[in-house]
Subunit: 371 residues, 3 copies
């Protein structure tokens, strides 16, 4: 039996502070902009079924309790106590928290307290740029403040993350953009934006990526398929970042590909081709529930075992933290345990690889044991 004694969740978000009714809870399961189709519910998804499989027992109910019954018990306990019980049921010892999502979500220190674990911050580049733009009046101050903010963030954050970089315009080019073009784009952005306006200019996003690369901190990149990714989101998957990966090879900055599904095999291939490219297992497992073992096995085809990182990708609901951790542990036990049982792998190797992808790889590339 393969065990993973500690778990580092290398990419997650805070949870909502308010009590949730059936509709608002369901909306958090859907991960889309709108409501479910008429006659359907987001509870009838792998995520919904996995929540009902793994969470009720942590609140003293039977597995597969109905959504209404589960939410009644959740309200009975209160959002704080329910959150505490759920997060403590994950087995996560360190949370790396992307704080760049909108909404009233708990901060890293709150997650740490609720989950009796440690927490570190991942800084979202485009949010940082937007905050800088809100308080910078000129192109000069914007670019100087941005450089300073990225440098400062690198001193405390454990990683940077960019969601937008692969979603707008062509694939990130193989070289830092020309300074003159960056100034021009910054001018256009400042002139056209309102306070709080989002950064979608491909050239500025590229500038931001290269600024982050210069810090040496690991850089997490959404590789397609993730949150809010609909029509205006290119569907090429991790292949879009091959050029960027080639350009950044040997610079000393690691790239971590997030949200690979259904391109997880291509992501695994990039991790095999480039020494500095790593693959997140997060939502590819957490959102596929009963299929998580099969998806994990596919990633394990081409990716070197030292290049894989557990995450939940959870946001909003502590239930998603639970689902991520539980389906991951079960998938690891089934897949690696199965290979050990049939003689394909040595049992000691299977146990060692399980610990690597559960926590060891993350500890190494994020330097979690150094502080």
């Amino acid at each position: 039996m393969i065990e993973t004694t500690t778990l580092v969740d290398q990419n997650c978000h805070g949870v909502l502070r308010t009590e949730l009714g059936l509709g608002t809870f369901e909306a958090q399961l859907g991960r889309t902009a709108g409501p479910p189709a008429a006659g359907t519910t987001f509870f009838d998804t792998q995520t919904g079924f996995a929540v009902r499989r793994w969470c009720p027992p942590l609140l003293g109910l039977e597995p597969h309790t109905s959504p209404a019954g589960y939410l009644a018990r959740r309200r009975e306990l209160g959002v704080l106590e329910a959150g505490r019980r759920l997060l403590r049921g994950t087995g996560v010892t360190t949370y790396l928290v992307d704080t760049g999502l909108p909404g009233d979500l708990t901060a890293p220190e709150e997650i740490a307290a609720a989950g009796a674990a440690e927490a570190r911050e991942i800084v979202r580049l485009e949010l940082l740029a937007q905050q800088i733009a809100d308080t910078s009046g000129t192109v000069d101050s914007l670019l100087a403040n941005l450089a300073h903010a990225v440098h400062t963030a690198a001193g405390t954050a454990v990683a940077f993350v960019s969601v937008a970089a692969l979603r707008h315009g062509p694939a990130p080019a193989a070289e830092p953009p020309d300074p003159g073009e960056v100034r021009a784009a910054a001018g256009r952005w400042l002139a056209g934006r309102r306070v709080g306006g989002r950064l979608t200019d491909p050239l500025l996003l590229r500038h931001l990526l290269w600024t982050a690369v210069a810090t040496g901190l690991p850089l997490q990149l959404h590789a397609g398929g993730g949150e809010g990714c609909r029509a205006n989101c290119p569907d090429g998957g991790p292949a879009r970042i091959a050029g960027f990966a080639a350009a950044t090879a040997g610079l000393g900055t690691d790239l971590v590909l997030l949200h690979g599904l259904p391109y997880h095999r291509q992501a695994a291939r990039l991790a095999a081709a480039f020494p500095h490219v790593y693959v997140d297992l997060g939502p590819a497992l957490a959102r596929t529930g009963a299929r998580a073992a099969d998806v994990l096995a596919e990633v394990l085809e081409l990716a070197p075992f030292g290049k894989l990182l557990y995450s939940s990708g959870a946001r909003g609901l502590p239930e998603l933290h639970v689902v991520g951790a539980r389906v991951f542990r079960q998938a690891v036990a089934r897949v690696l345990g199965g290979w050990a049982a049939d003689g394909s792998w040595a049992l000691a190797d299977a146990q060692r690889v399980a610990e690597m992808i559960a926590s060891g790889n993350a500890r190494r590339i994020y330097g979690l044991d150094e502080t």
Copy 2:
């Protein structure tokens, strides 16, 4: 044990009326323009093996009877009686029949009679346009007749289908084409075509799609990989329709993606991202035989369970109707039954989801219980 008591085949075609020799029967298995490679046979495919697995017992033979032995028995019974026995062995209660294929295939009412089931028509848009063009002398009459024909068809048909829309030119744009451009394209088409000439003009196809969308009837779209799809067929899969899906969101017309394999996971992702996008399971299961359970399981990763629809995609041979139904039922029983057995899903949920994808979802979106 998961059972599916009724089955709606949401996309199929009629069967050939003539007796078939070994060569003509084999050609129907291949689904390509030409003969098999020298030294090979289309019987040595998953489809061929599945026909030999499931059909001989319905004609009183052992499973895996040789092709020659099976066809001898088929001729002994006669094409009508064999067809009757085969169609009645499917368990299908309602056939939705795409009548837009060339060749002497049985009509919906004949399928209904032979199969002791109901049948409804799906109208193929490009065939409708070609028929209108054959009898329209001017651009004005062509466009007026086309609008009228689509509107009239919407009154009796259960859905529209388009095969060509994703096969010619760039991905269908996010907006209806400009009326002036439509008139110009219609003029070019009328001037250049012979009677029976096919519609391949991307702009007119786009006009046709948007005309159909306006009726509110569900619109089935071949998403790549299907019949006759070879070199001149873009290989991008369902990603090609992401823009069209975004443009039609909220208009009240459902889109059903057909022929996803090997892009079934991307199709499932689109069904998760867009409330009005549905995924057909048809040929992805029917043509993969012994692998159908695994392919079904992959689609069930990301697609909400209320968004999946059974079909056989069968055409020409009643054997393909049988294979579609049998491999689907077996796949559902294995996959959903397996998840119930290992505790991932509740048994009642598994049974409920099985009925949804076998018939319930189709009944809802095609309004089959309303008439």
Copy 3:
């Protein structure tokens, strides 16, 4: 139990002649240009684990022996004796050897002698062109010598192979290039190259492909994902050759797609669509180790069984020849044996298909029994 009595390795390379230390041995496992990431090793991959699973017993050790222990035993036996034991443990009866790789690798006759088997040569087109260019002073002599060399090679080689054709410039066009353009490109190449310079001009590569097609010898094409394929390598997979496949249909020359993973399903689809397109199973199985059965099963979804060909894709290490053969045999036994056991396939059909993909298909398309 499904057995494959003989094995034709339809694409492999020679092995290194020198004794290997731990570092040089490990580098051969990685198949990338650079070293592994800090803190990781290429032994912690499916390939590394499969080598440790299958090779130690052939040298008198326990399965899963540590890398250091295995290499000590390998050195004790000596590179020749170890190579002899390993190659004779593959069960391969005929090796088709691509001799176009750089490095001091054993020639086909040496592999044959060490492995107690037969060996035939596959000629790499771009290497042939480079050798001709080294000794041709003018465009006229280059083009004439090239035509002559390809024609001559076709008399002794068993196939041609091209790695570069799908890696440079746009997808190979559907027609032979214009002779005037070929002359111009040849002139540019001659003028710009040093002795030994590589051929990367898309137009000359296309000319080379069409010259090879004219000989009628099977043409193996790297379809993406293979050796050295990193940033400058398009990631479109086998879809890139759909146009070339359409243009060469009916000309009498077979195309064999190599290195499909993770695009093996698209490769299988092309093999179903085009009578002259075949799919190599090689590295897709050899490099995925414990996952090989699952990958094989995926290829068997759409590809006609007469279109699949075993290979190891091995190069440098006889261990990779062993891994290729052993994981293939085990995968065939598991997948086809499983389908026979559950009644999906007849046992006799499963055994027959196993022999087809292990050797029969290769014997037929390469004419191995004719000489």
